[in-house]
Symmetry: C2
Subunit: 121 residues, 2 copies
Amino acid sequence: MSAFDSLDGVRPYQLWDGITARSVRGSRITFAVVDLEAGVAAPEHRHGNEQLGIVLRGSITMVVDGESRTLRVGETYVIRSDVPHSATAGPEGATVIDVFSPVREDWERLERLEPGRGAWP
Amino acid sequence: MSAFDSLDGVRPYQLWDGITARSVRGSRITFAVVDLEAGVAAPEHRHGNEQLGIVLRGSITMVVDGESRTLRVGETYVIRSDVPHSATAGPEGATVIDVFSPVREDWERLERLEPGRGAWP
């Protein structure tokens, strides 16, 4: 199994309406490029997986443990295990990188789409 | 302590000559935006931390466990714990995201530079 992959060949997970994730994983980390359409929201949720991320495209308003911030390209977030969080994409949508540890085993139950070009790059 | 950060405010680690990392960390993950100047190389090394990454800018030739590949924007790599790897930036340099689990405690012994604008965004 090669160490290398291209996002173009990955079957995206449908996380929520208008939110898809192209991901690769190791033994400890799930690494995902997440595209959000304009204005869509990921409702408040929490999970044991620690989550860190960065904005690659557009803007996103995140609420982490009650603190709200509108983040732009190059801004980061750290969401500790089991901390409630939500997100709403800005008017041009957003692409973020989200990484998780341990891996998101629960994603294996989600619907997957056909491989295709995402909103980034 | 806020969940949010901007790369512009982070003091970069000097990893090797011509290679710097702006990073944030949680309990399980170190998340780094790594800038490589044109043509510089990270010599072969290994560490117990699992490492996943993606190219954001430029190109980089990586060798992971003896397999070599030149990666461009949107291409990914998965480096399992203790697998030897090296990297050489292309003619325009490269910016990659590298994430590690567990966190890179060893980076705390490295020299840190003053905060400043990196090569990305």
